[in-house]
Structure formats: structure tokens, C-alpha cells
């Protein structure tokens, strides 16, 4: 069996099949990165999985999951101004959380070097938007390298780390979902571990590190000057790719994954435009672009999401008075979604209809019913939503937050009618309560999110006296992104720690009404929610149950584990379908005659469903039907 951790630390050069996220970790090792931090978010958590495959004692760098992306960025910055090459990684919208710190980075002299790895998500596969983080790079004068595949992830990180250290500036490595998750064989270089140097090299003389008033202006001059240095480097870097078909008519300027989709689509083309693929998507290599534009009558700018390249390249052509037609986005749809081969086919065909056959229709009919994501069998959130729904009036307002419990918005629960971002539910709920005496407001929150971004909203609700009820859905882990530990888990990435109990935090913040219950006690939870919402003050219900996916995986690793499942007593079942239509565990299947059966692939035998059956037809795991129907 191949051991990932062993592979990542191999001294000699080797080639191995890896995903982009794993290739990144080998690059961190080879680059001599000393500090890495993150907050979990798709598409980046597998970076930490790869890091975890290296035993802690052998790990050549420090890694932590911090409480949120801003904290992770600050930690990496602190380490880097002490002389250690650092890296912070997180998902696209994580940069919004980190932004207050991030936008300052380029003003600083980061002597150790610092790479910011972003997992952008065109197509919003697992995010609340598909924001194009190149805008942040422009706003903050930060260079961006954008790889297209795992091989480039490896090589571009090495370049980002080298540049960052050389110029003492932050460099972004912008990944997208299917670059993170693509797999291919990558050839890695040798690794000679450097002598560890733990000297704390922070020196105010390297600064100033205090960007206020006139100092901030001076620092901005330095940031802009450094960006020009990087621009000159971007002109010449061997990481740019030009594919010259000797076509004086047509060219394409592109970047990242859309480049691969373009190459794919052109396999079927009769003629081939020349291609210039940028390694640096900020700052742009202006002279190289001018040279490419000058060699073609018509140039298509092929970029995913927003028209960041297009506007700059058009301005450049205008300034240089180039006699070239530049074709950018053609309508709103070109701004939306991932540039898959199919999408690039449509975009390219709209630009040059003679180049390719008419693309197939986008609307292929799906012959099977849709399969939205579900809460897992046994999930404590299901019991919670089932009970909470019964405690609320249909007109009450429920506010969702980010986490597995977001899925409560789906039928049959429809709990959580508004969603924004991490930690937003309490304050949004507080706003919904203003002038509102008719409709109770209930907000939901997960426990990892509680520490991440929820505390200010909760403090505000206490401080400004907003009478809403927050239901803290405590499952002991960061479940949605693959069970990372958080401050109340009793473990961090590296070792066991003291838990920071949510109840004591709430008490410390001055919350006066705190209720606690295991969510499987549905009747009690319903009663507590009714009590809490009847209060005229801010209240919190801690609705607790361990993540059953995590729990079951841990059980399965033990010897002698046998999956149990509940049974349906068909004599008692009156086909009222409460189990299917209200409780909604995916374990319950509907047969052709309207009867209910148990999917034994799925059922854990947890029994949280038993209390939901009006005719008591669900029998606990291991319990056979008693003689004679009731």
C-alpha cells in the first residue's frame, strides 16, 4: 500500500498520481514552508488531509486549523514577519472573512514570504456564490498565479513561494474547484530538508509595520512598485504558455482551467487559433500581451466568471492604438458558471461560428428524479428540525446559517428560510425582530460556526436586547467539510486540548436563558423551544447530538461492528407516512403500494425515528415483533 505521508517527504525525485490539493502539499515541503494555517472549506480540505498523512513529528512545517480565515491569515502573517515562509489556504468566500487583514498584507514587508492559496468555486459547487477573487487581488495590489492542473499547482506554488520570499510580499495562488480535485501523474523534484532556523527575526526596522495616515500612503507606493517588479517578471516567466499555430487571423488569451477546456474543444476544430495562456493573472504581462495582440487581427479573451482580463486588455489595446478586434464576454451567461468544455464550446462558437460545429443543446433531459443532498441517517439535526417545527407557528421566521443544518431548508422541514454566510443568523434574526411582535424569530447556528463568526452577533443580541431564540446545533465537529475539530471538540489538529464549552461561553457573554437538550429527545426539545420563544429576551437552546456520520465511522473501525437497523411492523403500519413525509430519514423507502420499508444499506438502527410513528410501527434494532398486533 502506498503511504501518502511517506511519498510527500520522499527525498529523491518521483512521479505519482495526485490531486491538485496533494500536489500543493509536496510543493510546500519542497519550498521550505514553515507555517501553514487554514479554516476548512470546500474545495480545499483535502490539503489538510494530505498534511495529516505526514506524522506530526515528521512534518516539516507547523499546521493548524484556526478558528476562522481571518485568524488563519493573521497567524500566517505573524509567522512570516518573523522570517518563516508561511501559507494560508481557504475557500473562495473565506477571503471575505479574511479581507480586513488580507487587504493590508501587500503594504507590509513580509520578510519570510507568504502565499495565500484560494479555492475559488466557479459554478458554486459548494459555496453560496461564485465570487471571482481576482477582484481582491486588484484591490490589494497582490500578484496572482493561476494553475490549470495538479502539475501546475505544484510548479506555480514553488514560483509563488520564491517570489513572495524574494520581494517580501504576499502572492496569491488561485485554485478553482476542479483544479483542486483533478488528479494526474505529477513529476516532483528532489527535497533536501533545509537546516531548521527558528530564530525570531521580527525587526521593526524592516517595516514600518504600522500603516496609518502618511505611512499607509508610503506603503502603498512600495506595494505598487513591487507589483511593477512582478509585472516585469510575469512578462518573461517560463510558466506562461504560447501555442503557436501560425494563425495571423485569430488568437485566444486565456488562463487556468478554461485553457484545458479550450484545448479539448479545439481537438474537434478545423482550424486552430493561436493561444496565449497566462500564468500570472495579476499583474498582467502587458508587453507580452501587446505582442500577442499585434500578431492577430482578432483575439478572443476566454476567462471564467468576470471580465477582469478583458477590461485590462481592451484598455491596453486602446492605449497602444492596436489595430486588433478584441472579443470579450458576449452577454450575461458568459459571466456565469464554470468554463467546462461544453461551456467553452458555446462561448467559442458564438465568437467564431465557422470554427466548430454547433454545440449540442444545454438542456439534456434528466430521466431520473433530482437528488438533493440530505441530512444523513441518524443525523441529530433531523430530530431537531422535526421537533422545532412542531414548536413553532407556521408564520414564525427561521434563519439558517452555514453548516450541515443548512439542509433543513429542504422539504419536509423547511426550517431556515434565509441564509447569508458564516455566523450571520443571529444578527439577521435580530433585524427581523425589529417592530415585529407578531412573528417569533428563531436562528440556527452550528458549533464550529459559533466560534468562527457568531460571537459578535450573539454579543449584539445580548447588548442591544434582541428577543430572538438562537438554536445552537452542537454536533461536536465541523461536519460539512469532513469532521475537522473545533474549539469545543477537545482536540485541535495536532493534539488534545481543553474544550471551550459553548455553554460557558454563552454564560460569559451574558446570555441569561440557556436551555440544553439532546436532539433525540424530541418532545423535550419541542417543549424547550416553546418556552424559549415565549420569553421576552434573547435565549439560546443548545440542541446537541454527536455527528452520526463521524460516530458511525468510528464504530465501524472497531472489531465486531455490525450495522443494525430498525424494522417496520407491517401489521401496525397504517401508512400514515409520518416517518417519510415529516421525519424524512432517507432510510425509509416507499414501495409501489404505498407501504414503507427500511433501506438496510442506510439505516444505522439509531432509533431516533421510533418516537415519530403515530402507530408505533417502527421497532428498535434487534427487537423482534412481539406476538400479536396491538
Amino acid at each position: 500500500m502506498k503511504i501518502m505521508g511517506e511519498m510527500l517527504l520522499r527525498r529523491q525525485a518521483f512521479a505519482e498520481i495526485v490531486m491538485g490539493n496533494t500536489a500543493l502539499v509536496r510543493a510546500m515541503v519542497e519550498a521550505g514552508t514553515r507555517v501553514v494555517s487554514s479554516y476548512p472549506g470546500s474545495p480545499t480540505p483535502e490539503i489538510a488531509t494530505a498534511i495529516q498523512s505526514i506524522p506530526k513529528a515528521d512534518r516539516p512545517f507547523y499546521f493548524e486549523f484556526s478558528t476562522n480565515e481571518k485568524v488563519a491569515t493573521e497567524l500566517a502573517y505573524g509567522a512570516a514577519v518573523n522570517g518563516h515562509l508561511s501559507t494560508v489556504f481557504f475557500k473562495s468566500v473565506g477571503l471575505n472573512v479574511a479581507a480586513d487583514t488580507f487587504v493590508q498584507l501587500s503594504l507590509m514587508n513580509i520578510i519570510g514570504g507568504m502565499v495565500v492559496v484560494l479555492g475559488d468555486d466557479p459554478g458554486a459547487n459548494s459555496s453560496q456564490n461564485e465570487q471571482d477573487n481576482r477582484h481582491y487581488a486588484q484591490m490589494s495590489y497582490t500578484p496572482v498565479l493561476e494553475p490549470a492542473d495538479p502539475d501546475e499547482v505544484y510548479r506555480f506554488y514553488l514560483e509563488a513561494a520564491r517570489l513572495s520570499r524574494q520581494h517580501g510580499m504576499p502572492v496569491i495562488l488561485r485554485l478553482t474547484t476542479h483544479v483542486c480535485h483533478a488528479k494526474e501523474k505529477v513529476s516532483f523534484g528532489q527535497w533536501q530538508p533545509a537546516e531548521t532556523d527558528n530564530t525570531p527575526r521580527f525587526d521593526p526596522a524592516n517595516g514600518p509595520y504600522i500603516p496609518i495616515t502618511t505611512l499607509a500612503i508610503e506603503k502603498k507606493r512600495i506595494a505598487l512598485a513591487r507589483l511593477e517588479v512582478v509585472r516585469r517578471h510575469a512578462e518573461e516567466t517560463a510558466l506562461n504558455r504560447t501555442i503557436d499555430h501560425g494563425n495571423p487571423q485569430r488568437g485566444v488569451i486565456t488562463m487556468g482551467l478554461p485553457f484545458l477546456s479550450l484545448m479539448e474543444v479545439l481537438e474537434d476544430a478545423q482550424t486552430h487559433p493561436d493561444i496565449f495562456k497566462l500564468a500570472f493573472v495579476h499583474p498582467l504581462p502587458e508587453e507580452a500581451i501587446v505582442s500577442f495582440l499585434s500578431g492577430h487581427r482578432e483575439v478572443k479573451i476566454l476567462e471564467e466568471l468576470d471580465n477582469v482580463l478583458e477590461t485590462q486588455i481592451k484598455a491596453l489595446a486602446f492605449d497602444r492604438k492596436l489595430p486588433v478586434t478584441i472579443v470579450g464576454k458576449n452577454g450575461q451567461e458568459d459571466w456565469i458558471g464554470e468554463y467546462t468544455p461544453g461551456k467553452v464550446h458555446r462561448v467559442l462558437h458564438a465568437c467564431w461560428p465557422d470554427l466548430l460545429e454547433t454545440p449540442p443543446s444545454v438542456n439534456i433531459e434528466d430521466p431520473a428524479p433530482a437528488r438533493p443532498a440530505q441530512m444523513c441517517p441518524g443525523c441529530g439535526h433531523r430530530s431537531a428540525f422535526h421537533a422545532i417545527k412542531q414548536a413553532l407557528a407556521p408564520t414564525d421566521i427561521t434563519v439558517a446559517d452555514i453548516g450541515c443544518h443548512t439542509l433543513g431548508f429542504l422539504p419536509p422541514y423547511e426550517m431556515g428560510q434565509l441564509l447569508m454566510c458564516m455566523g450571520a443568523s443571529t444578527a439577521m434574526g435580530s433585524g427581523l425582530r425589529l417592530f415585529n411582535t407578531l412573528r417569533n424569530v428563531v436562528a440556527f447556528m452550528g458549533d464550529s460556526t459559533f466560534f468562527h463568526a457568531a460571537l459578535p452577533g450573539i454579543v449584539n443580541a445580548v447588548f442591544n436586547d434582541h428577543s430572538i431564540t438562537l438554536i445552537l446545533m452542537e454536533n461536536g465537529t465541523t461536519a460539512m467539510t469532513g469532521h475537522q475539530d473545533h474549539a469545543a471538540s477537545g482536540r485541535n489538529f495536532n493534539e488534545t486540548t481543553d474544550k471551550i464549552p459553548v455553554r460557558q461561553v454563552l454564560e460569559g457573554l451574558g446570555v441569561r436563558h440557556i436551555f440544553e437538550v439532546d436532539t433525540y429527545q424530541q418532545a423535550k426539545l419541542k417543549d424547550l423551544v416553546a418556552q424559549a420563544t415565549a420569553l421576552d429576551e434573547f435565549s439560546v437552546v443548545i440542541a446537541r447530538h454527536p455527528c452520526m456520520l463521524k460516530f458511525t465511522r468510528e464504530q465501524r473501525r472497531k472489531s465486531g461492528y455490525r450495522q443494525k437497523h430498525v424494522k417496520i411492523d407491517q401489521d401496525r403500519c397504517e401508512r400514515m407516512h409520518a416517518c417519510i413525509e415529516q421525519f424524512g430519514c432517507p432510510t425509509f423507502s416507499r414501495d409501489a403500494n404505498g407501504g414503507v420499508t427500511i433501506n438496510t444499506d442506510l439505516c444505522l438502527g439509531d432509533g431516533s425515528c421510533i418516537q415519530t410513528c403515530p402507530t408505533r410501527a417502527i421497532l428498535p434494532a434487534g427487537e423482534e415483533k412481539k406476538g400479536g398486533a396491538a
Binding site: 479539448e264 431520473a368 437528488r371 407516512h577 423507502s589
Partner: protein, 192 residues
């Protein structure tokens, strides 16, 4: 070498990840050029998991252009129909494990469940070869993926990939009892 596209699909929790990694590495062991990508947004929560594997010297993108899969591998019946209808090319091949994890709309009574004859009818229309796999006596439902892998290998569904390549890939990824149990099942199904 001609391009060959493999589309793998199932429901979160069925073991698509391991199955895909074995196929990917088996292709690599066969000496062919290969790329793949997993798409699993919220899949851990009972949604659809898709993995795409592409063989060939003229493959660039990891994602298969729509309707160009040569082989679809599905671990569940609804997902088998979806793959046959949306991902496979005319005349492709579908291999699927015949278990049913009803989607929400079916459980709520708002949509009909997919039947074996739905799959057969659609595949007949599109000239798709269908290979259903089912093994009632599996000791662990998490081995359904290995039963399917045995079916793929036994029917030589991936050009140039032989039994030894699959076994090497399994050796790369598993050890101990897990490897033994999975390899036994794989060998049994592959030799049928």
C-alpha cells in the same frame, strides 16, 4: 491512443471515491495516459457523487464533454438511469450495482421510482450495453463497489486494462484484511 471516457456516479457514502481511485491507478498501471476529477460538492450528505476518468493522448480537460462518456459506472439504480441518459454516448456501456437509494421526491411520493425496465428501455433506445451487478450475500454494503469493479474487469470494459492492473491498483490503496476481503470479492466477480 484513442480517447476513452469513464463516468462514475453514485450517492455519497457508497464508495465512489475508492472505486474511482482504483480505476484511475489501474489505467496508469496499464501504461496509458490518464486524468480524472471528482465532483462532490455536498455529496457527503446523500447527494450525487461523480468522478470522471479520461484516457488518451489527446485528453486535455479533466471533465468529460457532455454526452461523450464511453463507459458509465453507477453504484445505484436512479443514478444509473441518470448517467445513461445524460452522460453516456449512444452505443456506450452502462455497468451498475442494482441497489435503490430513493431520492427525496420518490420518498415523498412526488416522483416515481426508477425501475430496471426504465433503464433497459432507455438503453435500448440509445443502443447502450447494460451490465447490472447485484450480490445478495455481501458481508458489508461498502463492498458493492468491489462487486462492480469485478464486473468491469471481468467484462474487460476498459481498453488495455487487465486484471493484473486492477490488482496492482488495489495493492496501492489498501492493506491487510480490507485488501484481502476486497480482492477476494473482486477475483470472484471478475472470473464469473
Amino acid at each position: 491512443m484513442k480517447t476513452f471516457n469513464i463516468y462514475l456516479t453514485g450517492v455519497g457514502g457508497q464508495g465512489i471515491g475508492l472505486l474511482s481511485e482504483i480505476v484511475l491507478r489501474a489505467v496508469d498501471h496499464s501504461g496509458q495516459r490518464v486524468k480524472s476529477v471528482d465532483t462532490h460538492g455536498l455529496a457527503q450528505r446523500g447527494g450525487i457523487v461523480v468522478s470522471q476518468i479520461r484516457l488518451g493522448d489527446s485528453v486535455h480537460a479533466p471533465l468529460i464533454p457532455a454526452g461523450r462518456a464511453d463507459l458509465a459506472i453507477a453504484l445505484e439504480r436512479h443514478e444509473a438511469l441518470r448517467a445513461a441518459g445524460a452522460a453516456l454516448r449512444e452505443g456506450g456501456c452502462l455497468v451498475y450495482y442494482d441497489t435503490v437509494w430513493q431520492p427525496l421526491a420518490v420518498r415523498l411520493g412526488d416522483a416515481a421510482t426508477v425501475t430496471v425496465s426504465d433503464i433497459d428501455a432507455l438503453c435500448r433506445d440509445r443502443s447502450i450495453r447494460v451490465i447490472p451487478v447485484f450480490q445478495p450475500d455481501l458481508p458489508d454494503i461498502r463492498m458493492q463497489n468491489m462487486a462492480v469493479l469485478g464486473g468491469i474487469a471481468g467484462n474487460a470494459l476498459i481498453p488495455g486494462v487487465e486484471l493484473t492492473h486492477y490488482r496492482l491498483a488495489m495493492d496501492d490503496l489498501m492493506a491487510g484484511t480490507m485488501l484481502e476481503r476486497n480482492r477476494d470479492l473482486f477475483d470472484q466477480r471478475a472470473n464469473e
